[in-house]
Amino acid sequence: MKPIISLSDISKTFSNGTIALSRMSMDIGQGEFVSLLGPSGCGKSTVLRIIAGLGEPTTGIIDWPTSTYNAAGKPERDIGFVFQEPTLMPWATVYDNVRLPLRLKRVSQTAGHERIMDALAMVGLSKFATSYPRELSGGMKMRVSIARALVTRPKVLLMDEPFAALDEITRNKLNDDLLRLWQDQHWTVIFVTHSVYESVYLSSRIVVMAARPGRVVTDMAISAGYPRDDVFRTSDAYNEACRNASMALHEAMDVADHL
Protein backbone atom coordinates (compact mmCIF):
# COMPACT_ATOMS: atom_id res chain seq x y z
CA MET A 1 0.00 0.00 0.00
CA LYS A 2 1.18 3.52 -0.76
CA PRO A 3 2.31 5.53 2.28
CA ILE A 4 0.37 8.71 2.96
CA ILE A 5 3.54 10.70 3.70
CA SER A 6 7.01 9.78 2.54
CA LEU A 7 10.17 11.53 3.79
CA SER A 8 13.40 10.71 2.04
CA ASP A 9 16.80 11.99 3.14
CA ILE A 10 15.37 15.09 4.81
CA SER A 11 18.03 17.42 6.22
CA LYS A 12 17.57 20.81 7.80
CA THR A 13 20.35 23.25 8.59
CA PHE A 14 19.33 26.55 10.17
CA SER A 15 21.01 29.80 9.22
CA ASN A 16 22.96 29.81 12.50
CA GLY A 17 24.60 26.54 11.49
CA THR A 18 22.50 24.22 13.70
CA ILE A 19 21.98 20.91 11.94
CA ALA A 20 18.50 20.08 13.23
CA LEU A 21 17.97 17.07 10.98
CA SER A 22 20.33 14.88 9.04
CA ARG A 23 19.18 12.52 6.26
CA MET A 24 15.97 11.46 7.91
CA SER A 25 13.79 9.01 6.03
CA MET A 26 10.47 7.48 6.99
CA ASP A 27 7.18 6.46 5.45
CA ILE A 28 3.92 7.04 7.27
CA GLY A 29 1.13 4.61 6.34
CA GLN A 30 -2.57 5.38 6.24
CA GLY A 31 -4.15 4.83 9.66
CA GLU A 32 -0.93 4.58 11.65
CA PHE A 33 -0.46 6.15 15.06
CA VAL A 34 3.22 7.09 14.96
CA SER A 35 5.05 8.64 17.90
CA LEU A 36 8.25 10.60 17.37
CA LEU A 37 10.15 9.96 20.59
CA GLY A 38 13.41 11.66 21.48
CA PRO A 39 15.26 13.98 23.82
CA SER A 40 14.61 17.69 23.63
CA GLY A 41 16.43 19.35 20.75
CA CYS A 42 16.57 16.26 18.52
CA GLY A 43 14.51 17.88 15.78
CA LYS A 44 11.05 16.45 16.48
CA SER A 45 9.32 19.80 16.07
CA THR A 46 11.39 20.57 13.02
CA VAL A 47 10.24 17.38 11.22
CA LEU A 48 6.65 18.03 12.17
CA ARG A 49 6.81 21.59 10.86
CA ILE A 50 8.34 20.37 7.61
CA ILE A 51 5.57 17.79 7.24
CA ALA A 52 3.02 20.54 7.89
CA GLY A 53 4.61 22.76 5.26
CA LEU A 54 5.64 25.40 7.84
CA GLY A 55 9.26 25.07 6.80
CA GLU A 56 11.15 23.71 3.82
CA PRO A 57 13.85 21.04 4.23
CA THR A 58 17.36 22.11 3.25
CA THR A 59 17.75 18.94 1.20
CA GLY A 60 15.61 15.86 0.67
CA ILE A 61 12.14 15.19 -0.61
CA ILE A 62 8.84 15.08 1.21
CA ASP A 63 6.12 13.45 -0.84
CA TRP A 64 2.40 13.00 -0.28
CA PRO A 65 1.80 10.11 -2.69
CA THR A 66 -1.97 10.00 -2.21
CA SER A 67 -2.57 13.78 -2.36
CA THR A 68 -3.17 16.02 -5.32
CA TYR A 69 -0.57 18.67 -6.11
CA ASN A 70 -1.55 22.21 -7.03
CA ALA A 71 -0.21 24.27 -9.92
CA ALA A 72 2.66 25.58 -7.79
CA GLY A 73 3.78 22.00 -7.11
CA LYS A 74 2.56 22.05 -3.48
CA PRO A 75 0.64 19.07 -2.15
CA GLU A 76 -2.87 19.66 -0.80
CA ARG A 77 -2.01 18.75 2.78
CA ASP A 78 -5.13 17.56 4.53
CA ILE A 79 -3.85 18.07 8.07
CA GLY A 80 -4.70 19.36 11.51
CA PHE A 81 -1.95 20.68 13.77
CA VAL A 82 -1.94 20.77 17.58
CA PHE A 83 0.79 22.74 19.34
CA GLN A 84 2.25 22.15 22.78
CA GLU A 85 0.43 25.23 24.04
CA PRO A 86 -3.28 25.52 23.35
CA THR A 87 -2.56 28.72 21.31
CA LEU A 88 -6.11 29.96 21.39
CA MET A 89 -7.19 33.47 20.51
CA PRO A 90 -8.03 34.95 23.94
CA TRP A 91 -10.43 37.48 22.44
CA ALA A 92 -12.62 34.85 20.78
CA THR A 93 -15.11 32.39 22.25
CA VAL A 94 -14.50 28.64 22.14
CA TYR A 95 -16.88 28.48 19.18
CA ASP A 96 -15.04 31.17 17.25
CA ASN A 97 -11.66 29.62 18.05
CA VAL A 98 -12.80 26.29 16.63
CA ARG A 99 -14.33 28.08 13.66
CA LEU A 100 -11.02 29.74 12.73
CA PRO A 101 -9.73 27.15 10.21
CA LEU A 102 -13.09 27.20 8.40
CA ARG A 103 -13.07 30.99 8.28
CA LEU A 104 -9.56 31.00 6.88
CA LYS A 105 -10.66 28.50 4.26
CA ARG A 106 -13.69 30.71 3.55
CA VAL A 107 -16.33 28.19 4.60
CA SER A 108 -19.53 30.07 5.42
CA GLN A 109 -20.90 30.11 8.95
CA THR A 110 -24.02 28.15 7.96
CA ALA A 111 -22.03 25.49 6.16
CA GLY A 112 -19.52 25.28 9.00
CA HIS A 113 -21.85 25.28 12.00
CA GLU A 114 -22.46 21.56 12.01
CA ARG A 115 -18.77 20.76 11.72
CA ILE A 116 -17.95 23.11 14.57
CA MET A 117 -20.56 21.54 16.82
CA ASP A 118 -19.36 18.06 15.78
CA ALA A 119 -15.77 18.93 16.64
CA LEU A 120 -16.83 20.36 20.00
CA ALA A 121 -18.90 17.25 20.70
CA MET A 122 -15.92 15.00 19.89
CA VAL A 123 -13.83 16.65 22.60
CA GLY A 124 -16.79 16.90 24.98
CA LEU A 125 -17.05 20.68 25.06
CA SER A 126 -20.47 21.26 23.47
CA LYS A 127 -21.65 23.13 26.54
CA PHE A 128 -18.74 25.54 26.48
CA ALA A 129 -19.18 27.00 23.00
CA THR A 130 -19.78 30.51 24.31
CA SER A 131 -17.03 30.47 26.96
CA TYR A 132 -13.82 32.40 26.61
CA PRO A 133 -10.47 30.56 26.85
CA ARG A 134 -9.56 32.19 30.18
CA GLU A 135 -12.64 30.66 31.74
CA LEU A 136 -11.38 27.12 30.97
CA SER A 137 -8.89 24.81 32.68
CA GLY A 138 -5.63 23.79 30.98
CA GLY A 139 -7.05 20.44 29.88
CA MET A 140 -10.17 22.06 28.46
CA LYS A 141 -8.10 24.60 26.52
CA MET A 142 -6.14 21.71 25.02
CA ARG A 143 -9.43 20.08 24.02
CA VAL A 144 -10.48 23.28 22.26
CA SER A 145 -7.16 23.26 20.46
CA ILE A 146 -7.80 19.67 19.35
CA ALA A 147 -11.35 20.51 18.26
CA ARG A 148 -9.92 23.33 16.16
CA ALA A 149 -7.53 20.87 14.47
CA LEU A 150 -10.42 18.47 13.82
CA VAL A 151 -12.90 20.95 12.43
CA THR A 152 -11.67 20.68 8.87
CA ARG A 153 -12.03 16.87 9.17
CA PRO A 154 -8.40 16.24 8.21
CA LYS A 155 -7.06 12.80 7.39
CA VAL A 156 -3.76 13.46 9.17
CA LEU A 157 -3.34 14.88 12.65
CA LEU A 158 0.04 16.32 13.65
CA MET A 159 0.54 16.84 17.37
CA ASP A 160 3.64 18.46 18.90
CA GLU A 161 3.88 17.40 22.56
CA PRO A 162 0.23 18.36 22.99
CA PHE A 163 -0.21 17.13 26.54
CA ALA A 164 3.27 17.80 27.94
CA ALA A 165 2.13 20.73 30.07
CA LEU A 166 -0.83 18.92 31.65
CA ASP A 167 -1.04 17.00 34.90
CA GLU A 168 -0.93 13.20 34.69
CA ILE A 169 -4.62 12.55 35.35
CA THR A 170 -5.73 15.01 32.69
CA ARG A 171 -3.11 13.69 30.30
CA ASN A 172 -4.27 10.08 30.70
CA LYS A 173 -7.85 11.12 30.13
CA LEU A 174 -6.95 13.02 26.97
CA ASN A 175 -4.82 10.10 25.77
CA ASP A 176 -7.82 7.79 26.07
CA ASP A 177 -10.08 10.26 24.30
CA LEU A 178 -7.55 10.69 21.52
CA LEU A 179 -7.21 6.92 21.01
CA ARG A 180 -10.98 6.52 20.88
CA LEU A 181 -11.31 9.28 18.25
CA TRP A 182 -8.42 7.86 16.23
CA GLN A 183 -10.12 4.46 16.12
CA ASP A 184 -13.53 5.92 15.25
CA GLN A 185 -12.33 8.34 12.60
CA HIS A 186 -9.54 6.29 10.95
CA TRP A 187 -7.07 9.14 11.09
CA THR A 188 -3.35 8.99 10.68
CA VAL A 189 -1.65 10.56 13.71
CA ILE A 190 1.94 11.75 14.08
CA PHE A 191 2.47 12.42 17.74
CA VAL A 192 5.60 14.09 19.11
CA THR A 193 6.48 13.29 22.71
CA HIS A 194 9.43 12.89 25.04
CA SER A 195 7.52 10.46 27.27
CA VAL A 196 8.28 6.77 26.74
CA TYR A 197 5.11 5.74 28.59
CA GLU A 198 2.84 8.00 26.61
CA SER A 199 4.31 6.88 23.29
CA VAL A 200 3.96 3.19 24.14
CA TYR A 201 0.42 3.58 25.41
CA LEU A 202 -0.77 5.41 22.31
CA SER A 203 1.21 4.27 19.33
CA SER A 204 1.11 1.53 16.79
CA ARG A 205 4.68 2.51 15.96
CA ILE A 206 7.45 4.49 17.67
CA VAL A 207 10.21 6.31 15.81
CA VAL A 208 13.06 7.03 18.23
CA MET A 209 15.26 9.97 17.33
CA ALA A 210 18.70 11.12 18.47
CA ALA A 211 20.07 14.65 18.64
CA ARG A 212 23.03 16.51 17.14
CA PRO A 213 22.33 15.91 14.37
CA GLY A 214 18.66 14.89 14.56
CA ARG A 215 18.02 11.51 12.96
CA VAL A 216 16.11 8.24 13.32
CA VAL A 217 17.85 5.59 15.42
CA THR A 218 15.10 3.04 15.96
CA ASP A 219 11.77 2.40 14.29
CA MET A 220 9.72 -0.06 16.34
CA ALA A 221 6.19 -1.41 16.03
CA ILE A 222 4.01 -1.76 19.15
CA SER A 223 2.06 -4.84 18.35
CA ALA A 224 -0.50 -4.70 21.18
CA GLY A 225 -4.00 -4.30 19.82
CA TYR A 226 -6.60 -1.64 20.42
CA PRO A 227 -8.64 -0.56 22.29
CA ARG A 228 -6.09 0.04 25.00
CA ASP A 229 -7.03 0.93 28.55
CA ASP A 230 -5.79 0.79 32.14
CA VAL A 231 -5.49 -2.98 31.87
CA PHE A 232 -2.99 -2.51 29.04
CA ARG A 233 -1.06 -0.02 31.22
CA THR A 234 -0.31 -2.77 33.73
CA SER A 235 0.20 -5.60 31.24
CA ASP A 236 3.46 -7.40 30.52
CA ALA A 237 3.26 -6.39 26.87
CA TYR A 238 3.18 -2.73 27.93
CA ASN A 239 6.13 -3.10 30.32
CA GLU A 240 8.10 -4.98 27.69
CA ALA A 241 7.46 -2.27 25.10
CA CYS A 242 8.38 0.47 27.59
CA ARG A 243 11.64 -1.30 28.37
CA ASN A 244 12.50 -1.61 24.68
CA ALA A 245 11.64 2.01 23.94
CA SER A 246 13.62 3.21 26.98
CA MET A 247 16.63 1.25 25.91
CA ALA A 248 16.41 2.62 22.40
CA LEU A 249 16.14 6.11 23.82
CA HIS A 250 19.15 5.62 26.09
CA GLU A 251 21.17 4.26 23.22
CA ALA A 252 20.18 7.26 21.17
CA MET A 253 21.39 9.58 23.93
CA ASP A 254 24.61 7.62 24.45
CA VAL A 255 25.37 7.77 20.77
CA ALA A 256 24.86 11.51 20.91
CA ASP A 257 27.17 11.84 23.93
CA HIS A 258 29.95 9.98 22.16
CA LEU A 259 29.90 12.24 19.14
Partner: protein
Protein backbone atom coordinates in the same frame (compact mmCIF):
# COMPACT_ATOMS: atom_id res chain seq x y z
CA UNK B 1 -6.01 22.77 56.50
CA UNK B 2 -9.56 21.56 56.83
CA UNK B 3 -10.41 18.89 54.29
CA UNK B 4 -14.14 19.35 54.89
CA UNK B 5 -13.87 22.71 53.14
CA UNK B 6 -12.96 21.20 49.78
CA UNK B 7 -15.86 21.25 47.32
CA UNK B 8 -19.06 23.17 47.90
CA UNK B 9 -21.33 20.95 49.93
CA UNK B 10 -24.70 22.48 50.82
CA UNK B 11 -23.62 22.72 54.45
CA UNK B 12 -20.15 24.12 53.76
CA UNK B 13 -18.79 25.59 56.99
CA UNK B 14 -18.22 29.34 57.07
CA UNK B 15 -14.62 30.22 56.35
CA UNK B 16 -13.90 33.29 58.44
CA UNK B 17 -10.57 33.97 56.77
CA UNK B 18 -12.14 34.05 53.30
CA UNK B 19 -14.99 36.25 54.57
CA UNK B 20 -12.52 38.66 56.13
CA UNK B 21 -10.60 38.76 52.87
CA UNK B 22 -13.77 39.52 50.90
CA UNK B 23 -14.67 42.26 53.38
CA UNK B 24 -11.27 43.90 53.16
CA UNK B 25 -11.43 43.74 49.38
CA UNK B 26 -14.78 45.53 49.42
CA UNK B 27 -13.35 48.14 51.79
CA UNK B 28 -10.40 48.73 49.47
CA UNK B 29 -12.76 49.20 46.55
CA UNK B 30 -14.84 51.80 48.36
CA UNK B 31 -11.76 53.54 49.74
CA UNK B 32 -10.24 53.86 46.27
CA UNK B 33 -12.81 56.49 45.35
CA UNK B 34 -14.00 57.62 48.78
CA UNK B 35 -10.54 58.60 50.05
CA UNK B 36 -9.57 61.00 47.25
CA UNK B 37 -13.09 62.42 47.42
CA UNK B 38 -12.75 63.02 51.14
CA UNK B 39 -9.35 64.67 50.73
CA UNK B 40 -10.79 66.91 48.04
CA UNK B 41 -13.70 67.94 50.27
CA UNK B 42 -11.37 68.68 53.18
CA UNK B 43 -9.04 70.73 50.99
CA UNK B 44 -11.93 72.71 49.49
CA UNK B 45 -13.40 73.25 52.96
CA UNK B 46 -10.11 74.56 54.30
CA UNK B 47 -9.65 76.75 51.23
CA UNK B 48 -13.14 78.23 51.69
CA UNK B 49 -12.58 78.76 55.39
CA UNK B 50 -9.14 80.31 54.88
CA UNK B 51 -10.33 82.76 52.24
CA UNK B 52 -13.19 83.92 54.47
CA UNK B 53 -11.19 83.88 57.70
CA UNK B 54 -8.14 85.76 56.42
CA UNK B 55 -10.29 87.98 54.15
CA UNK B 56 -8.22 87.14 51.07
CA UNK B 57 -9.26 89.32 48.13
CA UNK B 58 -10.88 87.45 45.18
CA UNK B 59 -8.32 88.96 42.74
CA UNK B 60 -5.59 87.20 44.73
CA UNK B 61 -7.33 83.93 45.53
CA UNK B 62 -11.04 83.39 44.95
CA UNK B 63 -12.84 80.95 47.24
CA UNK B 64 -14.25 77.69 45.81
CA UNK B 65 -17.78 79.04 46.18
CA UNK B 66 -16.78 82.18 44.34
CA UNK B 67 -15.37 80.05 41.50
CA UNK B 68 -18.62 78.12 41.29
CA UNK B 69 -20.54 81.42 41.25
CA UNK B 70 -18.31 82.69 38.46
CA UNK B 71 -18.91 79.48 36.51
CA UNK B 72 -22.64 80.15 36.78
CA UNK B 73 -22.45 83.86 36.03
CA UNK B 74 -20.02 83.58 33.09
CA UNK B 75 -21.61 80.44 31.66
CA UNK B 76 -22.72 82.24 28.50
CA UNK B 77 -19.12 83.18 27.84
CA UNK B 78 -17.45 79.99 28.99
CA UNK B 79 -19.71 77.41 27.36
CA UNK B 80 -18.91 78.31 23.72
CA UNK B 81 -15.21 78.34 24.63
CA UNK B 82 -15.51 74.92 26.23
CA UNK B 83 -17.27 73.64 23.13
CA UNK B 84 -14.48 75.04 20.93
CA UNK B 85 -11.78 73.41 23.05
CA UNK B 86 -13.66 70.10 23.01
CA UNK B 87 -14.04 70.26 19.24
CA UNK B 88 -10.31 70.73 18.75
CA UNK B 89 -9.53 68.01 21.33
CA UNK B 90 -11.79 65.38 19.81
CA UNK B 91 -10.95 66.43 16.26
CA UNK B 92 -7.25 65.99 17.03
CA UNK B 93 -7.91 62.72 18.80
CA UNK B 94 -9.88 61.38 15.84
CA UNK B 95 -7.04 62.39 13.52
CA UNK B 96 -4.53 60.77 15.90
CA UNK B 97 -6.48 57.52 15.81
CA UNK B 98 -6.82 57.58 12.03
CA UNK B 99 -3.26 58.80 11.42
CA UNK B 100 -1.51 56.82 14.16
CA UNK B 101 -3.56 53.67 13.66
CA UNK B 102 -3.38 53.88 9.87
CA UNK B 103 0.37 54.44 9.91
CA UNK B 104 0.82 51.52 12.33
CA UNK B 105 -1.12 49.24 9.98
CA UNK B 106 1.04 50.48 7.11
CA UNK B 107 4.18 49.73 9.16
CA UNK B 108 2.83 46.26 9.90
CA UNK B 109 2.70 45.51 6.18
CA UNK B 110 6.42 45.90 5.70
CA UNK B 111 9.46 46.22 7.94
CA UNK B 112 11.04 48.36 5.23
CA UNK B 113 8.30 50.99 5.37
CA UNK B 114 8.53 50.97 9.15
CA UNK B 115 12.30 51.42 9.14
CA UNK B 116 12.03 54.21 6.60
CA UNK B 117 9.36 56.22 8.42
CA UNK B 118 9.79 55.65 12.16
CA UNK B 119 12.61 58.22 12.56
CA UNK B 120 10.33 60.92 11.16
CA UNK B 121 7.53 60.01 13.53
CA UNK B 122 9.97 60.18 16.43
CA UNK B 123 11.32 63.53 15.26
CA UNK B 124 7.80 64.90 15.14
CA UNK B 125 7.24 63.59 18.66
CA UNK B 126 10.40 64.91 20.31
CA UNK B 127 10.32 68.41 18.81
CA UNK B 128 8.42 70.64 21.29
CA UNK B 129 5.14 71.77 19.79
CA UNK B 130 5.81 75.35 20.95
CA UNK B 131 8.83 75.40 18.64
CA UNK B 132 6.99 74.04 15.62
CA UNK B 133 3.72 75.91 16.08
CA UNK B 134 4.89 79.26 14.58
CA UNK B 135 5.87 77.40 11.40
CA UNK B 136 2.48 75.70 11.26
CA UNK B 137 0.79 79.07 11.74
CA UNK B 138 2.75 80.58 8.87
CA UNK B 139 2.15 77.69 6.48
CA UNK B 140 -1.56 77.33 7.23
CA UNK B 141 -2.35 81.06 7.16
CA UNK B 142 -5.50 81.70 5.12
CA UNK B 143 -5.78 78.02 4.26
CA UNK B 144 -9.32 76.71 4.61
CA UNK B 145 -10.71 73.23 4.16
CA UNK B 146 -14.20 72.59 2.88
CA UNK B 147 -15.46 69.25 4.13
CA UNK B 148 -18.92 69.64 2.60
CA UNK B 149 -20.84 69.80 5.85
CA UNK B 150 -18.45 72.24 7.50
CA UNK B 151 -15.66 74.56 6.41
CA UNK B 152 -12.60 74.61 8.64
CA UNK B 153 -10.99 78.02 9.06
CA UNK B 154 -7.23 78.54 9.03
CA UNK B 155 -7.18 78.96 12.83
CA UNK B 156 -9.06 75.67 13.30
CA UNK B 157 -6.62 73.93 10.97
CA UNK B 158 -3.64 75.37 12.85
CA UNK B 159 -5.06 74.24 16.19
CA UNK B 160 -5.96 70.79 14.90
CA UNK B 161 -2.53 70.27 13.38
CA UNK B 162 -0.70 71.24 16.58
CA UNK B 163 -2.94 69.12 18.83
CA UNK B 164 -2.68 66.19 16.40
CA UNK B 165 1.13 66.28 16.41
CA UNK B 166 1.08 66.09 20.22
CA UNK B 167 -1.47 63.28 20.35
CA UNK B 168 -0.72 60.87 17.54
CA UNK B 169 2.56 59.30 18.65
CA UNK B 170 1.27 57.11 21.52
CA UNK B 171 -1.38 55.68 19.21
CA UNK B 172 1.21 54.98 16.53
CA UNK B 173 3.85 53.39 18.76
CA UNK B 174 1.44 51.35 20.87
CA UNK B 175 -0.52 50.05 17.89
CA UNK B 176 2.72 49.14 16.11
CA UNK B 177 3.87 47.08 19.11
CA UNK B 178 0.39 45.53 19.42
CA UNK B 179 0.22 44.48 15.78
CA UNK B 180 3.51 42.62 16.21
CA UNK B 181 2.52 41.02 19.51
CA UNK B 182 0.41 38.16 18.14
CA UNK B 183 1.47 34.74 19.42
CA UNK B 184 3.91 33.14 16.95
CA UNK B 185 2.17 29.76 17.07
CA UNK B 186 -1.08 31.45 16.14
CA UNK B 187 0.75 33.00 13.20
CA UNK B 188 1.93 29.52 12.22
CA UNK B 189 -1.65 28.34 12.41
CA UNK B 190 -2.80 31.11 10.10
CA UNK B 191 -0.01 30.21 7.68
CA UNK B 192 -0.98 26.53 7.88
CA UNK B 193 -4.52 27.26 6.73
CA UNK B 194 -3.30 29.54 3.97
CA UNK B 195 -4.62 32.78 5.51
CA UNK B 196 -4.38 35.84 3.30
CA UNK B 197 -2.57 38.94 4.50
CA UNK B 198 -5.93 40.63 5.02
CA UNK B 199 -7.32 37.71 7.06
CA UNK B 200 -4.21 37.69 9.24
CA UNK B 201 -4.58 41.41 9.83
CA UNK B 202 -8.29 41.33 10.58
CA UNK B 203 -8.57 38.10 12.56
CA UNK B 204 -5.21 38.03 14.32
CA UNK B 205 -3.12 41.18 14.34
CA UNK B 206 -5.83 43.79 14.90
CA UNK B 207 -7.49 41.95 17.82
CA UNK B 208 -4.06 41.30 19.35
CA UNK B 209 -3.29 45.01 19.01
CA UNK B 210 -6.52 46.18 20.65
CA UNK B 211 -5.29 46.32 24.28
CA UNK B 212 -2.16 48.17 23.17
CA UNK B 213 -4.16 50.54 21.00
CA UNK B 214 -6.52 51.33 23.88
CA UNK B 215 -3.61 52.05 26.21
CA UNK B 216 -2.24 54.41 23.55
CA UNK B 217 -5.66 56.00 23.14
CA UNK B 218 -5.85 56.72 26.86
CA UNK B 219 -2.55 58.59 26.73
CA UNK B 220 -3.42 60.27 23.44
CA UNK B 221 -6.76 61.58 24.70
CA UNK B 222 -5.05 63.37 27.56
CA UNK B 223 -2.38 64.69 25.22
CA UNK B 224 -5.01 65.89 22.73
CA UNK B 225 -6.49 68.14 25.41
CA UNK B 226 -3.03 69.42 26.36
CA UNK B 227 -2.26 69.92 22.68
CA UNK B 228 -5.51 71.79 22.10
CA UNK B 229 -4.89 74.16 25.02
CA UNK B 230 -1.20 74.74 24.27
CA UNK B 231 -1.96 75.26 20.59
CA UNK B 232 -4.49 77.89 21.47
CA UNK B 233 -2.00 79.78 23.61
CA UNK B 234 0.44 79.78 20.72
CA UNK B 235 -1.98 80.40 17.87
CA UNK B 236 -3.88 82.97 19.93
CA UNK B 237 -7.35 82.27 18.58
CA UNK B 238 -9.68 85.23 18.96
CA UNK B 239 -13.39 85.84 18.47
CA UNK B 240 -15.74 83.05 17.54
CA UNK B 241 -13.05 80.37 17.40
CA UNK B 242 -11.63 81.06 20.84
CA UNK B 243 -11.44 78.26 23.40
CA UNK B 244 -10.77 78.09 27.13
CA UNK B 245 -7.09 78.97 26.75
CA UNK B 246 -8.03 82.30 25.17
CA UNK B 247 -10.45 82.92 28.04
CA UNK B 248 -7.62 82.38 30.50
CA UNK B 249 -5.32 84.77 28.63
CA UNK B 250 -8.03 87.36 28.29
CA UNK B 251 -8.99 87.06 32.00
CA UNK B 252 -5.36 87.34 33.02
CA UNK B 253 -5.07 90.51 30.99
CA UNK B 254 -8.09 91.94 32.87
CA UNK B 255 -6.95 90.48 36.19
CA UNK B 256 -10.25 88.59 36.41
CA UNK B 257 -8.79 85.86 38.61
CA UNK B 258 -12.10 84.08 39.45
CA UNK B 259 -12.82 83.60 35.75
CA UNK B 260 -9.31 82.27 35.19
CA UNK B 261 -9.95 79.72 37.90
CA UNK B 262 -13.33 78.86 36.41
CA UNK B 263 -11.71 78.19 33.01
CA UNK B 264 -8.94 76.10 34.59
CA UNK B 265 -11.52 74.08 36.51
CA UNK B 266 -13.41 73.41 33.28
CA UNK B 267 -10.22 72.20 31.58
CA UNK B 268 -9.44 69.91 34.53
CA UNK B 269 -12.95 68.49 34.57
CA UNK B 270 -12.73 67.90 30.82
CA UNK B 271 -9.45 66.02 31.28
CA UNK B 272 -10.92 63.89 34.06
CA UNK B 273 -14.02 63.14 32.01
CA UNK B 274 -11.94 62.10 29.00
CA UNK B 275 -9.80 59.85 31.19
CA UNK B 276 -12.84 58.18 32.74
CA UNK B 277 -14.56 57.66 29.40
CA UNK B 278 -11.50 56.07 27.75
CA UNK B 279 -10.83 53.87 30.79
CA UNK B 280 -14.41 52.74 30.83
CA UNK B 281 -14.46 52.04 27.07
CA UNK B 282 -11.24 50.09 27.40
CA UNK B 283 -12.68 48.06 30.26
CA UNK B 284 -15.84 47.25 28.30
CA UNK B 285 -13.89 46.12 25.25
CA UNK B 286 -11.39 43.95 27.12
CA UNK B 287 -13.24 42.61 30.15
CA UNK B 288 -14.05 39.22 28.64
CA UNK B 289 -10.53 38.30 27.72
CA UNK B 290 -7.61 40.57 28.59
CA UNK B 291 -5.60 40.20 31.80
CA UNK B 292 -5.53 43.95 32.40
CA UNK B 293 -9.33 44.05 32.67
CA UNK B 294 -9.81 40.87 34.69
CA UNK B 295 -10.15 40.79 38.46
CA UNK B 296 -8.34 37.94 40.13
CA UNK B 297 -9.25 36.15 43.30
CA UNK B 298 -5.68 36.22 44.59
Amino acid sequence: MNTANIGSTPTAPIDTVELARARSQRMTEIASWALPFLVLLLALGYWQWAVVHYEIKPYLLPSPLRIVQTLGADWQLLLPSLVNTLEITFGALALAVIGGGGLAILFAQSRWIEMALVPFAITLQVTPIIAVAPLIIVYLKDVTLDLGFVTLSDVTLQLLTCAWIVAFFPVLSNTTIGLNSADHNLRNLFELYGASRWQTLRLLRLPAALPYFLAGLKIASGLALIGAVVAEFVVGAQGAGSGLASRIQESAFRLNIPRMYAAVVLISLTGIAIYLVTSWASHLLLRRWHESAIRREN
